[in-house]
């Protein structure tokens, strides 16, 4: 297993499918991709398969969406109303979930794998236009994707009458403007249309029925489309040989936090969390013990160590009391203050709340204000129940899952580590030391706080200002920027960010993600 960047000790394995050539520095070029069997699936599909057969392959493989909900992809395609054209294929490449950095690796290192899957999917559903909605901060990925698209056009894999067939397909990259909510599929579509990215009213429940420009739209995660590439190229069994029956395939697992070997690993679904943490992550840091794990990015419940033996797939994580989500496994050891961790997670959501609905817009800042007080030793005994009451007031009442997710870390932190909250209140200080106080916010005047927030919240999807289509982000999203806050979950591993972050965001940015070190390594 080659280590990419020895200094950061972060790595990627040569996985069985998606990561087979991930460590090949030339893989992003089409010549190398072709040498490695690239576009064979597309050739095969266009020559030998009908679109229905491609759909059938994906159905047989039981491919479930890798964006987090694991909804069967072929079933989603089946929801597209017949006879309604034009239709679109959209790749959700907004990868903004804290602790998640898998799509980025593919787009930077093996972009043709995604392109091929997208073209195949377009063929399968009868679309002639594909958009890749790319997270704003992914500079290198944008460059690589555009390069790959150009190469694909040059080789006749995109454009008119692809490979001599009657199938036409165009592709473009659309860069977001720095908002986590634009990863939510309906907000993504609004943003793609040049509007402010905010979740749309459902029904219609799926973009498949009414998506981009109100037309049928197949929208999936980057990893999902990459799986399509392999399923078509080598047949469904190449996929179903991995994983458990209900949830086959491999999964790109993003391992970050207090482990010896953080990285992105392509693993068969269904391995246990323990295997991921110890065999791939190399176990806890010197002299430390694992304390908590979030298996699927910031939105999922935090699990204590007694849940580590559950199989890591959709069903397994539900049984364990959490969700697999984006498979962003964030690990915290016993140096972590759970109040601080909850605070950082909530501040991420507070910062990213789109502001549309009341419970999320108002609930997140309230939760974060209380958590900040407790963390700074100004908690009162009644605060803990108040936190739970606020969670209850948000639970099931938000417009979209962002708000519903925001309360999850608070609830699970209190559920499993209530004593830490009580200790903060009783001692009037953080028992983990004062290394993780909240820089820049104590002693602020109200006006300064407001100003800071207003600046920090400018970025939003597409047309954040009337006239539509403004692509000028006033700030980067907090999820990408942010200085590490020592001693709190998942924050420590982030190195400097790949963009100069707005200082305001840097201070407000709660939780940093893995990411930049991969591009540094190139």
């Amino acid at each position: 297993m080659p280590v990419v960047n020895k200094e950061s000790a972060a790595r990627m394995n040569d996985g069985p499918l998606l990561f087979r050539y991930i460590n090949d520095p030339e893989q992003y070029r089409i010549t190398r991709y072709l040498q490695h069997g690239g576009y064979a699936g597309l050739r095969k599909a266009l020559k030998e398969m009908t679109p229905a057969q491609v759909v059938e392959y994906v159905a047989q493989a039981n491919l479930r969406g890798r964006g987090g909900a694991f909804f069967p992809t072929a079933r989603k395609w089946g929801l597209m109303p017949p006879g309604v054209f034009p239709r679109y294929v959209v790749a959700n490449a907004d990868e903004s979930e804290p602790g998640t950095c898998k799509d980025r690796q593919i787009m930077e290192r093996d972009p043709h794998q995604l392109l091929e899957g997208l073209i195949l999917s377009a063929y399968a559903v009868g679309a002639e236009q594909v958009y890749i909605y790319l997270r704003w901060e992914f500079e290198l990925a944008a460059e690589r994707l555009w390069g790959a698209i150009r190469e694909a056009y040059d080789h006749g894999f995109l454009g008119q009458r692809i490979l001599g067939s009657n199938f036409n397909c165009d592709m473009a990259v659309h860069r977001g403007a720095g908002a986590y909510i634009c990863g939510e599929e309906t907000a993504l579509l609004d943003s793609l249309e040049g509007k402010r990215g905010q979740p749309r009213l459902r029904p219609p429940y799926f973009p498949a029925a009414k998506g981009y420009l109100s037309m049928p739209t197949a929208l999936s995660n980057v990893e999902t489309y990459c799986n399509v590439t392999h399923i078509v190229r080598e047949g469904p069994q190449v996929f179903t040989q991995f994983g458990r029956e209900k949830c086959p395939g491999t999964k790109l697992v993003c391992l970050s936090g207090h482990v010896r070997q953080p990285g992105v690993y392509e693993l068969p679904l269904g391995v246990s969390l323990r295997e991921i943490l110890y065999e791939w992550g190399g176990g806890p840091l010197e002299g430390r013990q694992f304390k908590a794990v979030i298996p699927g990015g910031a939105s999922m419940p935090i699990l204590p160590p007694d849940k580590f033996d559950y199989p890591f797939d959709f069903e397994g994580m539900v049984e364990a009391g959490s969700m697999i989500g984006s498979a962003g496994v964030i690990v915290m050891d016993d140096s972590t203050c759970m109040v601080g961790a909850a605070m950082n997670l909530v501040r991420f959501f507070e910062h990213e709340s789109c502001g549309k609905c009341t419970p999320c817009r108002e609930g997140c800042p309230w939760l974060s204000q209380i958590l900040r007080r407790i963390e700074h030793g100004q908690g009162r005994p009644k605060d803990i129940d108040l936190l739970l009451a606020i969670c209850q007031q948000m639970d099931g009442k938000c417009f979209c899952l962002l708000g519903e997710s925001a309360l999850v870390p608070v609830r699970s932190a209190i559920q499993h580590w209530r004593h830490e909250f009580e200790q903060h209140v009783a001692e009037g200080r953080c028992p983990f030391g004062d290394g993780h106080t909240d820089p820049g916010t104590r002693g602020d005047t109200d006006e300064a706080r407001v100003q800071r927030r207003v600046v920090a919240r400018r970025g939003m999807g597409g047309g954040a200002v009337p006239g539509g289509g403004c692509r000028q982000p006033g700030a980067h999203r907090g999820g990408s920027a942010g200085q590490p806050e020592r001693g709190t979950g998942a924050a420590f591993h982030a190195a400097a960010c790949d963009r100069d972050a707005d200082r305001a965001v840097a201070r407000d940015g709660p939780l940093c993600r893995l990411g930049s070190w991969f591009s540094d390594a190139l």
Binding site: L201, G355, K356, P359, R361, E362, V450
Partner: protein, 857 residues
Amino acid sequence: MSDATVDTVTLTIDGIEVSVPKGTLVVDAARKAGIEIPVFCSHPKLEPIGACRMCLVRVEKIPKLITSCTLQVAEGMVVTTNSAEVAAARAGVLEFLLSNHSLDCPFCDKGGECDLQDHTFRHGVPEGRFEEPKILRQKKPMPPIIEKVMSRCVHCARCIRYCDEVMGVGALRFINRGVCTEPAAFMDGGLACEQCGNCIEVCPVGALTAEFYDLKARPLDRKQTNSLCQYCGDGCTMTIEVKGRHSGETHIIRTRGHDGQGVNDEFLCVRGRFGYGMVNSPERLKQPLVRRDGELVPATWDEALDLVATRLAEIRERHGADAIGGIGSEKCTNEEAYLFGKLLRGVLGTNNVDYRTEAKRPFQAASLARLLALAPPEGALWRLRHARLVVLVGADLTSENPWSEKQIIQATAKDHQRVLLAYPRRIRPVEYASRWLRHAPGTEPALLRGLAGLVANEAQAEQVAATVGVAPDELQAFAKELQDAPDVVLLLGPRVCAGTDPDAAMLAAAQLAQTLGVRRPAGADGPKRVDVVVLARHNNTRGAQDLGLLPDTYPGYAGMKTAGFAPEWGEALPTRPGKSTPEMLAAAAHGELKALYVLGANPAVAFPDGERVRQALAGVEFLVVQDLFLTPTAQQADVVLPAASFAEKEGTFTNGEGRVQRVRRAMEPVGEARADWEILQAVAGRLGRPWPYLSAGEVAREITRLVPLYAGLSYQALDLPVSNFLVRPAPLAAAAAEPVVSGGAGPAAPSGEYPFVLLTGQTLFHSGTLSPWAPEMRRLAQHAYVEIAPEDAATLGVADGERVRLVSPRGALSLFAHVQPGGAPGILFLPHHFAEAPANVLLDAAAAVDRVRVEKE
């Protein structure tokens, strides 16, 4: 009214069974069952968004609470709104909303009428648990008028959605995110929009307010009166709010629309919402004036009225009744229009009466009646919202009839209506029209006749196209779409009915409608539906027409048939058609017309060839003017009688679609001003004909008795929410007289000395002589200007905002140039009615098309 066959769905809400049409939202179904579900973002006129979460309810078989404002009813659905769980959800949302709310109710315009206060009172908990520092923000202006206080915003997006969905303007968007989200104009700056203020109206809290109103009053200080807007012929219902009922120093502090009331259902345009200031103006006439030694000096009512009566009687004695003429108003009430005709015809004995002050060539009453008979029976405004194809000819709808336009904007956005536009200038409807025929100015009659010929397959597209100055294939496509549409509304604006050859244009329109009506679109059975709508520019243009302020008809389009009026109005009523306004002014100039009675009109500024008008007015022996202000016309008068404004009197207006609605007195008239009908009654009395009316209502009763068109009218029936008294002349009445068709004018040849065609008309911010007296409206449009195309500006070396001089064969004017992107080269547009730059001095009453040259100053 919409569909005859609506499926109904029965559901249970809190144990109450209700049946509602399929597609109804649960929140509306609950209202029907008498159950109030609190809402913020939900609004009856806007698409649901489900954002505020205030309306959460429990529905059986749905795992979570669900927003009742987004959920459609289903058969057998069981909804609970009164459980502890729902109550907790409501209290929770309110607690959230108040957490960063400034709670400055004592200093908030909305205090006392705020949804947040009301919902909290009913559904909130008295003690909040939020003890953190609030995120509060300062008041921010969005110039020129609107101010926002974001600490009060509940982020319901109603303002944004109204501006998008109803106004079609899209001036507002949310900026920032999370708790700092706020609705804002482009770059969070000023609002470059229609300034209608509807965003303020739909805001459930005090987050938006108008600078004119901000912190001027509390709800309890205000006396509210439901009445009508006095500007255009759409006839919006408005509430007039008056302050000072305790002090006696009354003035209007605000006018507003109300949800579910009137044809406008809460909407008001900028004139309706902010044009009230003329009532409060210190320039209002407060006592009668009479001319002594060449000067207008104050007089008592008795002096002034005696003088009017004596002089009129004297002139009638010496020169005969036809030496007297009257120019009435399309702004006064029906009752006043009726009495003005009765005074001139019945008391003074002349048919010299007209209300038109701008028309160079007045139409015949029969032409109008013929078109009015083709009006949609359910009302033009409703029809515009539902028609599949609207053909708009000769109207700058945005400026002239804003609410009519908003019907179309909503219909084009939501219901797939298509709009065909024929207009010589680039106006806002160009944005949403599917086709635009930019025909040569003044060719409306030829265009309408050509279209009638084309749909009847009797005309050559090339020939018509050449006459009106458009491309033949564009014309052909226009006609084709007209032919193929399943139903059509033909919308005719002032350039048709007050154009250069109105009778020809109106006849052609009627013929076009008839030809289309018998043509079925492919595959349809039954005749195609065609309606004709004649737009009314002023609040009571239609009433002035209906009640006989036209020289060739008695009230109700009776023509010269005096039978119904004879004994009651007077013994010997005149039976020869009288003189129209141009004819009266010409007669005055020639010394034939000795006395002129002007009621609320301002020909000195409105009628073409201003200099000649002034001479004509100076030429009459006796000029009496009844008005609110000392207008240029009034300045020339021998007697000026101060009239009450629309807010100070009772009566009715008939809007453009023929809907008769009530105007109510919101305050006492200023000074000694009196309602026009009272003044007319006093004059008649002094002329030996005491009329018996104790109130405007009694005049109305006489109208219902004598004018069959208005039979059955009663003030009670006109009450809110919306009057359903619609008048429409019977088709037969129109067939009586056949107008003579003269050929439509072709494009006028350019002339060397005066190379520009000059079009005049109104704008959104000023519609007539009244609005410039409102300081609020003046703020929006301060200076007179002329619109000029960029190409022409470049050739002339004129920059935007520079002063230019317009010279016509009749006169000259100096004003600012406004370079209009997309304007048609060779055509200038000059808003009329600016007293300091009266457009009429340039116009030639005899010319079909007016021409000017532009000089740099």
